[in-house]
Symmetry: C2
Subunit: 419 residues, 2 copies
Amino acid sequence: MAIAATEPTSVRSFGPGTALSCRECGQRYELTPKFACEFCFGPLEVAYDFGTVTREEIESGPNNIWRYRSLLPVPTNVAELPNMNPGLTPLVRADRLAAELGFDSLHVKDDSGNPTHSFKDRVVAIAVEAARTFGFTTLSCSSTGNLAGAVGAAAARAGFESCVFIPAGLEEAKVVMAAVYGGKVVAIDGNYDDVNRFCSELIGDPVGEGWGFVNVNLRPYYGEGSKTLAYEIAEQLGWRLPEQIVIPIASGSQLTKIDKGFQELIKLGLVEDRPYKIFGAQATGCSPVAKAWEEGHDVIQPVKPDTIAKSLAIGNPADGPYVLDIAKRTGGSVEHVGDDEVVDAIRLLARTEGVFAETAGGVTTGVLRKLVREGRIDTKAETVVLNTGDGLKTLNAVDAGVTATVKPTLAAFTAAGLA
Amino acid sequence: MAIAATEPTSVRSFGPGTALSCRECGQRYELTPKFACEFCFGPLEVAYDFGTVTREEIESGPNNIWRYRSLLPVPTNVAELPNMNPGLTPLVRADRLAAELGFDSLHVKDDSGNPTHSFKDRVVAIAVEAARTFGFTTLSCSSTGNLAGAVGAAAARAGFESCVFIPAGLEEAKVVMAAVYGGKVVAIDGNYDDVNRFCSELIGDPVGEGWGFVNVNLRPYYGEGSKTLAYEIAEQLGWRLPEQIVIPIASGSQLTKIDKGFQELIKLGLVEDRPYKIFGAQATGCSPVAKAWEEGHDVIQPVKPDTIAKSLAIGNPADGPYVLDIAKRTGGSVEHVGDDEVVDAIRLLARTEGVFAETAGGVTTGVLRKLVREGRIDTKAETVVLNTGDGLKTLNAVDAGVTATVKPTLAAFTAAGLA
């Protein structure tokens, strides 16, 4: 209790967060490491009492996601705690890509600028604070790769042990980045969905005691980190919602939270209430949500992923049904593109905007182009496309190398036809 | 002339820049793509008339280096032009590393947060503006790897052709990142110094007409980008100079420009004039400046580089003598560490702060530790260490991988001794 006495009494551990609430039945729970409703097994999410939040308050905050701390379930003094402090990544005005695709106004939200170069730093940053509050000593996760790196780094920064779980056969860069921070990295002989099932088993076991699995028992907190993408895009557009946005789908959580973030901004009067359309993007080799959308189903049929977009390779996406709802409600859609188009779109984005995207960014850019080609997106409307990861982590996806190797003489250079 | 009529008359192409001035003899020239003094062959740098610059003006600027545009040779409307807009990377409060090394106050300036994940985006951003002003159509450079990626990306964003030159045998990630943006990447059969000589030859040849070599004929502009590291560190410390700073040395330009930036801040009254010590860091396998320092020489003896820190592998560093001057003037020093210590320091920084540095960051962190070990740095003084690149680009330097691969069952996990 000695520690409690030295803590400022004004610090609220979850800021404006007041409870956990079941997304299905509305049952409320205290803010604990609980992730499923006891009554209906629905997913829990954080409920808030925001009070008044102003643009000025946000703009005077730090240059990272903590400028939005009054909209997040984190300690009120979060900016002073050891954390990776992600966010405020560039919203790139993509005039050259816009010209090539025929858009009047197009932006790329480039989340490769985060500390471990994917959007996962956002969600982990929130989970770390919850883990600290709950007294967990080990940070863990099931991961398709990016999350493992984000957890490893955040654990190192904040002084937690870490043990992360990935499917065997991931890209080398993702494995090294997960391991370099000194925590344990366990490859599971199976795909991501096997890893996820294994982690759920581990949580119920004494072995997992004291472990905060950022995307399982800390999921209600973790998920809220994706809202910051919505806040930043709106603020960076000059406190305005985009009219159209293309978002990748892995579990579907990010897409649902961006929608939640937009809705909060509207309710708080921070942006004008104007319609926006949300488009979900999957790789054809793992497109259960796009398939349900095409066929008009409400239920997602799990698939066995087979795509180079490994960071999106979740065959049984937990938030798939909510994604379908949001695409329908906003007038968007859920689309997919094949691996060849993913690679081509990575090159397109690199060539026009100097943004080297991970395969997931190839999926969103590829879907954007497909939507234009098929006349199913409005090229006159203000549009944002997300790049959630970094091309350096999926190097093998693009076949890029030196144009030529020559001796250091003008004669050799000219002879090679390079002049 | 039709274009000129539509340009705002208030735009000055080089902002506060007034002339090029020879660092050796002081001879002044107009702001053109000139890089060596006609009289003494000394390097040219930009001279300024800053007028009054306030903290408030800077703080109200964009969240990138253009907040310092009134201290840089760039168009006054630079923030509206297509550019990678690097900078304002995190200054990480490194409490866990500080505790391990015994410092009272230690920060890591982590420049892996830039768009192509190295500090090179800063210098290229300035060079791109000069290239645009001078009407160049192709961007080029001699590069140890990071610069090639930065030039490729910036050329794509700003709509230039590009052709970059690298030594053969660079890390795969650096080659792919240079090539993915669609420009030409030419590997030269030789080391960086050979590449550099070749580029100087190319500039004098008709083949190189219309080409802006960012670090050769645009070097006076390019170099100024490194000043932004000084500005950011001071602003992020609360408008205060650090008392000690550890900076890597490749050509030595970055170190000299950080010193220049600190001096400008003092002269403009933006920070208090307090003493600071600058420590230069090299890898033992390419340590001509450290060797001259040790031996008390003013002249740098070129070496043939042999180190894993390829981004610092410049055997004939142009600004070496200036580095010696600055280390002497400020009471710092120039040190080197071997490749084993570089790798160990990369791991130390990752394990304590969640920062995955390139080999160059291992060099600075390794030198920092060496200085502590040998009692030649003040652990009570406010200290900053630079990480100028990203571990994802030098993956092979660290031997990191999965702890174990197991079947997705609790039994397998426990049997592997992981529980």
